[in-house]
Point group: C2
Chain length 336, copies 2
């Protein structure tokens, strides 16, 4: 139980869902305060039957707050969250900025809850495309040791924030009408297109989004020997990321064993009855908190590999849900 919980970035695509989840899941706190940039400060939001005014994020706003859940751009997290830690807050951060810092915990509660409980400073929530993959990898890693992962993503526009989805919808409307549309966040039209770039290009021709899938996976699973080769692609889906995941394990797994391992993992739902047209899709996973796995099959090209399809709501388990689950973990612990 916390006295005062703050949500920073409360008006963003993820922030809005964090508020919904705190309300729906009756998060145990006496007071909730919501912060955003000066542009959004002063707006009112409905929360648990009250109207709460959005306050402006400042370096001195964290006094008297026990827990901060922040979902902001990287530069905002870089600038403001150290002030929250200094003010004595527990801090859960959705941004990419702090995740790989050596003194920051990077947590998926089903995988490494203890690191959240032990954290002295910021607790980071992983990148959306990483979270769903790593949750699916975890039971396979525990059972058979994951050696190598080749992953291709099919990422939704909501990962680029509210304007990302607006770009998709307005861009699609314009394309269907044969008119022009000036995209705000995408470099190229995303309507009826696929863009092989998410984030910026870093070393070896990989993007920042792809390298997150390499390094965050190792940190969360606590195994730097896991090899990951990712390709991240933006597609014209408004919400839910999908991934084709090919996993090589040290010990070969049968499809039946992999299916059992997935099914026994909290947070994973197996939807895998292809003969009856049952597999996860963005349209069926939107709004759910779980990671959905289907099309589980042996890799025809290597007996130590299995391959599957993984879909999850990137704003939920990929972001808001994971952060709120970390907060709930801290609250349960604080209650003891």
């Amino acid at each position: 139980m916390f006295n005062t919980v703050a949500v920073v970035g409360a008006t963003g695509a993820v922030g809005r869902i964090i508020l919904q989840l705190l309300e729906q899941r009756r998060f145990p706190a006496r007071t909730f305060r919501f912060f955003a940039s000066a542009r959004s400060a002063g707006q009112q939001v409905e929360f648990a039957g009250q109207r709460i005014t959005i306050e402006e994020l400042t370096h001195t706003c964290f006094q008297g707050i026990d827990l901060v859940i922040a979902s902001t751009p990287d530069e905002t997290a870089a600038e403001y969250l150290p002030s929250a830690v200094q003010a004595g807050c527990r801090v859960i951060d959705e941004s990419g900025y702090w995740r790989m810092h050596s003194d920051v915990a990077l947590v998926v509660p089903e995988i490494n809850p203890q690191e959240a409980l032990n954290a002295k400073g910021i607790i980071a929530s992983p990148n959306c495309s990483t979270t769903q993959m790593v949750l699916a990898l975890k039971p396979l890693h525990d059972a058979a040791r994951v050696r190598r992962v080749i992953v291709s993503t099919y990422q939704a526009t909501s990962g680029a924030g509210l304007q990302g989805t607006a770009d998709l919808l307005e861009g699609s409307r314009a394309a269907l009408a044969g008119t022009d549309y000036q995209y705000q966040v995408f470099r190229y039209p995303i309507a009826f297109n696929a863009i092989p770039q998410i984030g910026s290009f870093k070393q070896d021709g990989y993007t920042s989004e792809e390298l997150k899938m390499v390094y965050e996976t190792r940190k969360i699973l606590g195994d730097d020997s896991i090899q990951v080769c990712p390709t991240c692609i933006r597609i014209p889906v408004s919400n839910c990321h999908s991934e084709t995941i090919n996993v090589e394990t040290e010990r070969p797994l049968t499809v039946e064993e992999a299916r059992r391992l997935f099914a026994a993992t909290p947070g994973i739902t197996v939807v895998d009855d292809p003969a009856n047209g049952q597999y996860p899709m963005p349209s069926t996973c939107d709004g759910s908190d779980d990671v959905f796995v289907g099309r589980i099959r042996r890799d025809l090209s290597n007996p130590n590999c299995i391959t599957f399809w993984c879909v999850s709501d990137n704003l939920r388990k990929g972001a808001a849900t994971n952060a709120v689950q970390i907060a709930e973990l801290l609250a349960r612990h604080a209650a003891k």
Copy 2:
């Protein structure tokens, strides 16, 4: 030079482009005849300044025809093309039905032209998702021997024919308007969604489309030891298939070597300057006859692998262009 060339399935998504290509590329023939099902027979089409009436496809329609280019559903190809062979026609078939028959040549002209020239019966054109991949693999295979391929596809709705694209556009309009739309060819809504099924489910949890990528690749490259693990996904793009392709070669290739090999291959265009935002996309490859390759990079997880992104117009090089190129090859040979 042929006297009489027939196009069967002339009113379909691929058939229309075959007609365009025959006209634009001034295919050397004295007479062109166009066939379709009874439903479309009697329609007129503009071709090279003439109006040509679509004739009905029958078992006896092939008399006096030298070359047949057919783009029809599998069952139509199964039923009618043997009559064309019996009538003495050279036959190029776009359908999936004949490709893996042992006495049928499966041809990509840049790869195995001699098999088209030697063919006694039907010459098949490969599946769209296979053609672009195998053309990209060919120079790597010649230089370093391809051992294993892991491929994930991002396939356009035009691969499901004219109604596939109508489904995408009408379904998108309806989704944006908040109204219902009854999809004709897709099992689930394709607008703003990703569907992990193309074709029907066959053995080991793989779809017919995926198994085509396994078996056709081996047949075209003439190497049954090549291992392929495909996952085929339909995305809301109207035209051009994209693929992430991870290739393991016997001899390790550097990125520079792979790029040189791609660039030196007729039919491949390298678009690979990520620092300047240059990579292939459906929006930029639509209407082109080449296979486009970009994001060429080393696989971080295995020194014997490179990985890249491949886009091609599935109605062109994936279908019509490849068939017309085979026809041109036969015409050049017939002229000698």
